[in-house]
C-alpha cells in the first residue's frame, strides 16, 4: 500500500536550513550560506511541487487502484503538494546542482572550519581520515535521519569515504581537502535517505497477523512526525527520544506530538494544509468554484466594463483583494485550530477574520486586529467558513453551480458524476430580467442536467445567493444594462431543499444559516474534513475499507463537539501512521 515518498520542495528547503544550522551551530551562518550568490543561483534550478491529485500507486492491488481512480474522478479539483511525487529529470538535476553549490559554499574558506572542523584546514587535511570520520559521525545522522555506520548500516563509512577519495585533495586550493569534503557533502545531500523517507529498517518488527505490515522504528517515526507536523527534520529533542527508544512509549510519543503541534512551526505547516485544501493558489478559485480569480481581475473586458463598474460601486477589486480573501479564510481555519474550535465553529461562526480595509468594507464590519475577539456579523447573516468571500465571490455574477459542486464534493464528500460533454459549452447568462438563480434553474432543468443539478448541486449554491459576486450581503440582485444603468432589482430567494443527506427530500432551509446548521448536524463535514486531512497526510486517497479504522478514529475526535485541533493530532495516533505496508 505505501510507496516511498520524496521530500517536497518546502520540506527540502526547511531541512537544508536546519541541517546547516545544526552543523554550524549558528543560525546566522546558515542564513549567510543560503543567501550566498552561488547558492541563490543554484536554487533557481530547484523544481517546486505543484498540487497534485494522487495517482494510483505503482504495483498496487487492483482494488486499491480502482479505488484511487474512482476517487480521483470524484474529487478532480486541486490536489496536494505532498502528492506531487513526480520523478522529473529537472527535479533530480536541481537537487544535484543545488547540492553541489551548497557544498561548495559550506566548504569555502569562510565556512570549512565551522562545518567540518579545524582538522580540515591545512596541507595534510586531504589524507586525514580521522577528520573525515569525525565529520561523518557528526553530520551523517543529521542528514540521513538515522544512526550512521551502525550495525544496520555498516557500509556508510566506506560509501562516503569513496566520495572523499574520488578526486582526492586539490593541492592548488587554499584548503586542499575542501573539494574532497565538497564531494562528500554533495553525496550526502543527494543520498536516498536524505531526499526520500526510507522506512526499511530490517529490524522493524512485523505486526502480528498482518502480512507485510511492519512497525516503524523510533527513528522512522521521529521523521514521520516531524515532517508531518513541521515539514522539516526532527530537532535534537525529538531525535534524542528516537535514540533512546522512548519515542515508542505512548506517553512520550503523545508528549512529542503535543510539543510539535504547539510550536509555531506546527501552525505554519497546518496552514499549508489549509492552502492545499482550499486550493487558494488556483487561478480557478477554490477547487473550481470560479472564484474572484486572477484572470478575472486581469481581464480588462471584465474589470473595466461599464457594467462591472456599476455593479462594483465602491468595491472595485484589485489583485490584493483576492489575497485578502484567502488570508481571511486561512485566518479563520487557523484561529479555531489553535483556540479549541470545533466543526460547529467552522461551519457556523459569525466571527469576521477580515484584517484589511477592502474586505472589511465588503463585509460591512471593522477590520479585525488579529488579537482581540473578532468582530461579528449579524446573527445568521454569514455563518461559517463557506459563506466567506473566498468561497462566494466570482466577479460580476455569482456561480451557484460551482458553489454547489464545491460544497457537495469538498465539504460533504459526496460523489457527483462527470458532467456530460454538452455541459462544456454551457454558461449561465447574465440578463436584465432574471436572477442568477432563475437563469441557472432554466439552464439546468432539462434532461439530463436535472438529474444532478435540481437536487444535489443547485440548492447548495442557491443558499448563498444572499452574497453577490464580490461576496457582499444582499437581499436583492441588481441587474445592469451595458451602459451601467440599473435594469431591474429582483428579490433574492435562498429557500432550498438542500439534500444534505442525499436521500432527504423533505428537509428545507431558508438560506445559508439553515444549510450550514444542517451540514453541521449531519456530521458529514467532520468526516469529509477527516478524509481530506488523510489525503494530505498520506498523499493518497483513502480506501474506505482498508483505511476504515484510521478514518473512524479521526472522525470520532471531531464528532459531538470535538476540537479540530485534536483531529490534526489524531492521525499521528493511528496505527497507519506508525506502520508501513510492504507489498
Amino acid at each position: 500500500m505505501d510507496q516511498i515518498r520524496a521530500l517536497t520542495s518546502r520540506q527540502y528547503l526547511n531541512t537544508i536550513s536546519d541541517v546547516i544550522t545544526a552543523v554550524t551551530g549558528s543560525t546566522s551562518t546558515g542564513q549567510a550560506v543560503l543567501t550566498d550568490p552561488t547558492v541563490v543561483a543554484a536554487k533557481a534550478l530547484l523544481q517546486t511541487n505543484t498540487p497534485t491529485i494522487p495517482l494510483p500507486l505503482v504495483n498496487a492491488t487492483m482494488e486499491s487502484t480502482e479505488n484511487a481512480v474512482t476517487l480521483g474522478i470524484a474529487f478532480p479539483d486541486g490536489g496536494w503538494l505532498r502528492a506531487d511525487q513526480s520523478i522529473q529529470q529537472s527535479r533530480v538535476n536541481g537537487f544535484y546542482y543545488f547540492g553541489v553549490a551548497l557544498a561548495q559554499v559550506l566548504t569555502s574558506p569562510a565556512n570549512l572550519a565551522s562545518v567540518v572542523g579545524s582538522c580540515a584546514i591545512g596541507a595534510n587535511a586531504g589524507t586525514d581520515t580521522a577528520c573525515l570520520t569525525t565529520f561523518l559521525d557528526k553530520i551523517g545522522p543529521l542528514v540521513l535521519r538515522r544512526p550512521f555506520n551502525d550495525v544496520n548500516h555498516p557500509s556508510d563509512l566506506a560509501t562516503y569515504t569513496a566520495m572523499f577519495t574520488l578526486n582526492g585533495p586539490d593541492t592548488t586550493q587554499q584548503n586542499p581537502a575542501a573539494p574532497a569534503y565538497q564531494d562528500v557533502l554533495t553525496g550526502l545531500l543527494n543520498a536516498p535517505e536524505f531526499l526520500y523517507f526510507v522506512e526499511s529498517d530490517p529490524n522493524d518488527p512485523p505486526v502480528a497477523n498482518l502480512a507485510g505490515v511492519y512497525q516503524l522504528s523510533a527513528y522512522e517515526l521521529a521523521s514521520r512526525l516531524s515532517y508531518h507536523l513541521w515539514d522539516t527534520m526532527p530537532d535534537a529533542t525529538l531525535m534524542a527520544t528516537a535514540a533512546d527508544g522512548s519515542l515508542l512509549q505512548p506517553t512520550v510519543y503523545q508528549q512529542q506530538v503535543d510539543r510539535l503541534f504547539a510550536d509555531p512551526r506546527g501552525a505554519a505547516t497546518l496552514n499549508q494544509f489549509f492552502i492545499d485544501y482550499f486550493q487558494t493558489e488556483s487561478i480557478g478559485g477554490p477547487r473550481g468554484t470560479g472564484g474572484l480569480n486572477y484572470h478575472f481581475l486581469a481581464d480588462p473586458n471584465s474589470l473595466a466594463s461599464v457594467q462591472f463598474q456599476a455593479f462594483a460601486g465602491p468595491n472595485v477589486p484589485d489583485a490584493s483583494l483576492y489575497a485578502n480573501m484567502v488570508s481571511e479564510a486561512l485566518a479563520m481555519a487557523n484561529y479555531f485550530s489553535a483556540n479549541g474550535g470545533t466543526i460547529t465553529d467552522l461551519l457556523t461562526s459569525n466571527f469576521s477574520f477580515a484584517q484589511t480595509a477592502d474586505l472589511a468594507q465588503i463585509y460591512g464590519l471593522a477590520p479585525w486586529d488579529g488579537m482581540s475577539t473578532p468582530p461579528s456579523f449579524p446573527a445568521n447573516q454569514r455563518p461559517g467558513l463557506f459563506t466567506r468571500a473566498l468561497f462566494t465571490a466570482a466577479g460580476i455574477d455569482t456561480s451557484p453551480i460551482l458553489k454547489g459542486v464545491y460544497l457537495r464534493r469538498y465539504v460533504l464528500c459526496d460523489i457527483l458524476g462527470t458532467p456530460p460533454a454538452l455541459a462544456n459549452g454551457a454558461s449561465v447568462p447574465l440578463t436584465t430580467n432574471e436572477t442568477t438563480r432563475d437563469a441557472t434553474t432554466a439552464l439546468t432543468s432539462g434532461v439530463p442536467c436535472n438529474g444532478c443539478h435540481t437536487n444535489y448541486i443547485n440548492p447548495l449554491g442557491f443558499a448563498t445567493e444572499s452574497f453577490d459576486g464580490l461576496g457582499r450581503f444582499r437581499t436583492q440582485q441588481n441587474l445592469y444594462t451595458t451602459t451601467g444603468a440599473v435594469a431591474a432589482q429582483l428579490p433574492i430567494n435562498t429557500e432550498v431543499t438542500p439534500y444534505v443527506m442525499l436521500e432527504d427530500s423533505t428537509t428545507t432551509a431558508a438560506g445559508a444559516a439553515d444549510v450550514m446548521n444542517l451540514i453541521n448536524t449531519s456530521q458529514k463535514a467532520g468526516a469529509c474534513l477527516a478524509r481530506n486531512y488523510f489525503r494530505y497526510t498520506f498523499a493518497r486517497f483513502e480506501d474506505l475499507t482498508l483505511d476504515a479504522c484510521t478514518l473512524e478514529s479521526m472522525v470520532t475526535t471531531v464528532s459531538k463537539g470535538g476540537q479540530v485541533g485534536d483531529l490534526w493530532k489524531s492521525v499521528t495516533q493511528s496505527p497507519l501512521f506508525m506502520r508501513r505496508t510492504i507489498q
Binding site: 505505501d2 510507496q3 516511498i4 543561483a41 533557481a44 534550478l45 523544481q47 505543484t50 495517482l55 500507486l57 505503482v58 504495483n59 498496487a60 513526480s86 520523478i87 522529473q88 529529470q89 529537472s90 527535479r91 533530480v92 538535476n93 544535484y96 560509501t159 574520488l166 578526486n167 573539494p179 564531494d183 554533495t186 553525496g187 543527494n190 543520498a191 536516498p192 535517505e193 531526499l195 526520500y196 522506512e199 526499511s200 529498517d201 530490517p202 522493524d204 487561478i283 480557478g284 484572470h295 486581469a298 480588462p300 473586458n301 473595466a304 466594463s305 457594467q307 462591472f308 460533454a421 454538452l422 462544456n424 459549452g425 454551457a426 454558461s427 451595458t482 508501513r580 510492504i582 507489498q583
Partner: protein, 563 residues
Amino acid sequence: MSSGPKVIKVGRRHFLVGVGGFALAIPYLSSLERVARANGPTVPPRYFYLGTDHGGCWDSSYFPQVTATQTTTVPGVSGHTVSAGPLALTLTGSTGSVGGSQVLTASSATLTNTLVGKMNVLRGLDVPWYLAHNTGLLGNFARNDGNGSDGVAVAALGGRPTIDQIMASSPTFYTTANLATTKATSVIINGGTQPHSYALTTPGNPTGGVTPVSNNLSSLALFQSIFGASNAPVRKPVVDLVNANYKSLVQSNTRLSSADVTRLNQHMQMLSNLETELTATLACARPSTPMDNSAYGRYGSTPNAAKWGQLFVDVIALAFACNASRVGVFGFGDTSGFSPGFASSGLTDWHQDVAHKWYIDQPQGWLLESYQAIFEQVFLYLAAQLDGMMDAEGGTVLDNSLIVWGQECSMETHSQTGIQTVTFGGGAGTLNTGLYCDYRQNGQTTNRSQFSPYNDAGGETAGASASIASYVTYPGLLWEQWLATQLLAMGVPTTEWELWQDSMGNTQHGYGTPFVGADQNYGSNYAPHYLPSTSTWTVGASPLANASPYFANASSPLPFLMK
C-alpha cells in the same frame, strides 16, 4: 546589400562572432562521428522556439504580399485548396521587407536575400476552439488560463509533453553517440510568467500527467550550466557514486516494496542521464564566458529589451554550434519593452491598454513596432548568427536547424485562428524554404468575421479602426498538424509521439489534444469546417481520431514544407 551571411570556411573549424564581439574558434573534434540518417535530417538537426505573448497584430501588417505559384488540395476535403509562393525581399533604402510586411522587416545588412530564402511564413494554422491566454502552443494545450469553457474542458483532458521535450527525450533525436557531446538535452529560457515546456511527469507514461520544465537562470548562469563556470580542469562528478548508493539500497534491502523499487529505479535512471550530461565532452573548445549578463532586466524600451533577448539567444547559438544542446525554447513574455511609443505614453499596463486594444490604431501601432523590433533584434539576430557558422558536414548551422517564432494569439488577442508564424532554417535537409504558405480555405461561406463574436459589455469593438472594420478570415489547417510537421522535420518518428487514443481506442493524429470548441462562436464558425455535418461527434468535445480528414491526416506534413 550584403550578398549573404558572413561565412568563413576554414577546413573543419567553426568561426562565430560570439558574445563580447570577438571571434571564437571552435575546432571540430574529428573523433566524434555524426550518425548519418537514412530518412529525415541529414545531420543532427537543431530546434528553437521563440514564444511571445498576446499576438494582436493585424494580418495585413504581418503577412507579406506573395503571388501563389503552387496550389494543392487538402486530401479528402472537397474545395479546400491551399497555396504557396516565393518570398521576396523588397528594399526601401537600407531597409528590407519581406513582401511588404511591416513586421518582417529589418536592416538590409541583416535581412538579406539569402536569409529570406531560408525563411518560411505560414498562414492559416488554427486552434479551432477558445484557447485564449496560454503558453500551450508547443503542444500542451492544457496550459491555458481557463478563460472560457473550452480551455477548461481541454485542461480537464490532461496535459501533454511539449514537442521540444519530445525531441529532448527522443532516442532518435539524441542517439547514444549524440549524447556523448550533449551537455543539456534542452535549453529552456523563461521570460514570461508561465512555462512553455512540459515533460512527462513519469517518463514513459503518457497518461500520467506533465510537469513544467523551467528555471529562472540569467543568461550567464545558463551559459555556465552548459559550458561550465570556467576553463579550470573539471573534477570527476560524484553523481556516479551517488547512483551507486541508491543501487546499494535497492539491492540490499528486503523491506522495500516493489513500488519503492520502481520509484528509486526511476531516480537512478535520472542520475544516469545526469551523469551522461556531466561527463559529456564538448564537441568544441569551451567558448569564453560572456562578459555581460541579462540580470539587468528587459523592460524599458529598446535597446534594453533587445540586449536582454540577445544575451539569451547568444547562449542558444553557442550551444547549437557546439552541439552541446540541440533544443531551445525561449518563452519571451510580452514585447512591451520593444515599444518606444508605449514607454513614452504614460500607460503602464501593456496587457490591458495595448494587447486588448489591438483593434484601435494607436495600440496597434505599438504592437506593430514591438513585433518588428523583436523580429529584427532577437529572432533575425539569432538566424543571422546561426547562418554565419558552418557545420562540418555541410551547410550552415541555420541550414541544419528549424527556428520558429510564434505568438500566443493571432490577430485578435484571445483568438488562435491563423496564428502568425515565421521560421528560418532547412531542418537539415528536410524542409523547403523561402515560402509563404497560405493554408486557409479562402472564400468559403463558413467564415469568421474578426468582429462578430467577441462582444462584451465593455464593447470590444468600441473605437475600432475603420481599416479593419470589415476584415474577414477563414479557417485553414490544424495547429496539431504544424506541431507534427515540426517533429517530422526533426526526424522524430510518429511512433514516439502518437501516444494517445480517442475514446474508441483509435490513435490520435497530429500533436496536441484534438478539440473543436463551442465557446465564443467557434462552434458556429469553425466547427463546420473541421467537423463536417456527417461527423458523429459533438462540438465542444474531443473528436474521434478520424472525425474528419483534418484530424485523420494531422500527422502528415503540412503541404509544401517537407521535401
